[in-house]
C-alpha cells in the first residue's frame, strides 16, 4: 500500500524531512502498528516515535487514536501536540 507520510514541527526537524511516499508493509493495520513500524526504521526514528508516546497522528487529515484502521489511508501525518491559538 502506497501512502504519503507527512511530518510537522519538531518531528519534521528531527527526521530531517517534511514528507515521503512509502509502501507500508501489508501487515500494518492500525495507527499503533504504523507508530511501531516508524520506531524501528532508524535510531533517530526510535527516539522520535517512542518519546513517551507523545507523537500524535492524523489519518487523511483527521485526528486518529492508536486503534484507528489505516488500511485505506492515503495520507498519514505525525506531529507533536498542537499549540495554536
Amino acid at each position: 500500500m502506497t501512502v504519503r507520510l507527512l511530518y510537522f514541527a519538531w518531528v519534521r526537524e528531527k527526521l530531517g524531512q517534511a514528507e515521503e511516499t512509502v509502501s507500508l508493509p501489508a501487515e500494518l493495520t492500525t495507527v499503533a502498528d504504523v507508530l511501531g513500524w516508524q520506531a524501528q526504521r532508524s535510531e533517530i526514528h526510535r527516539n522520535v516515535f517512542t518519546s513517551a508516546g507523545i507523537v500524535r497522528v492524523a489519518v487523511d487529515q483527521t485526528h486518529a487514536q492508536p486503534s484507528v484502521n489505516i488500511k485505506h489511508a492515503r495520507e498519514i501525518a505525525f506531529f507533536p501536540p498542537v499549540t495554536g491559538g
Partner: protein, 155 residues
C-alpha cells in the same frame, strides 16, 4: 460562517463591519484576539525576551479542523454569524495571532461560543509555535495541560 488561515494581519474593526453589514438580526458581537507575548510564561523577560514566533500548520487539515470546530459551536449555540482567522508564518511580540468573532441575537450565546471556539481550536487545530529568543536560543512551544482541561467543561 467562515474560517481563514493567512500570513497577513487582520483588522478587527473591519472584520466586525463585514460580518454585520446589512444585517439587523444580530444583537451581540463578541471578539477574542490572541497576541504574541514578549516572554514565555514562567521565564524571565530579561533573559528570555522573545524575538520572533513562527507558526507552522498542516494545510488542508487546518481548514478542515477549524470548520469542524465552527460546526460544533453552531450545533450548541444559535449563532447568526461567526469567523475564525488564524495567522501563520513569522510574527513578532505584540502581533495578532488569532481572531474569533461570534454574533448572536443575545449576548450569552456569543460569549459562550467564542470561549468554546478558542478552547477547541487550541487543542484540535494543527498549528505549532516555535519561539526564537533574542539571545539566539529557540524551541517549539510545549502543549499545556490547562488547555486540555479547558475543553473538559464543554463535554
Amino acid at each position: 460562517m467562515a474560517i481563514r488561515v493567512q500570513t497577513e494581519d487582520f483588522d478587527i474593526g473591519r472584520e466586525i463591519a463585514a460580518l454585520t453589514a446589512g444585517r439587523i438580526d444580530i444583537g451581540a458581537v463578541v471578539t477574542f484576539t490572541g497576541l504574541v507575548r514578549g516572554a514565555s510564561p514562567g521565564k524571565s523577560l530579561a533573559t528570555h525576551s522573545l524575538a520572533t514566533m513562527t507558526l507552522e500548520h498542516y494545510p488542508g487539515m487546518t481548514e478542515a479542523e477549524l470548520e469542524r470546530v465552527e460546526a460544533a459551536a453552531l450545533e450548541r449555540w444559535p449563532l447568526q454569524a461567526s469567523l475564525i482567522v488564524h495567522r501563520v508564518g513569522t510574527l513578532a511580540p505584540g502581533d495578532n495571532i488569532v481572531l474569533v468573532v461570534t454574533a448572536s441575537l443575545h449576548r450569552q450565546a456569543a460569549f459562550e461560543a467564542a470561549e468554546f471556539l478558542m478552547d477547541y481550536l487550541k487543542t484540535q487545530a494543527p498549528f505549532w509555535k516555535k519561539e526564537a529568543a533574542t539571545d539566539g536560543t529557540g524551541d517549539w512551544v510545549d502543549a499545556r495541560a490547562s488547555d486540555d482541561q479547558a475543553i473538559a467543561r464543554w463535554r
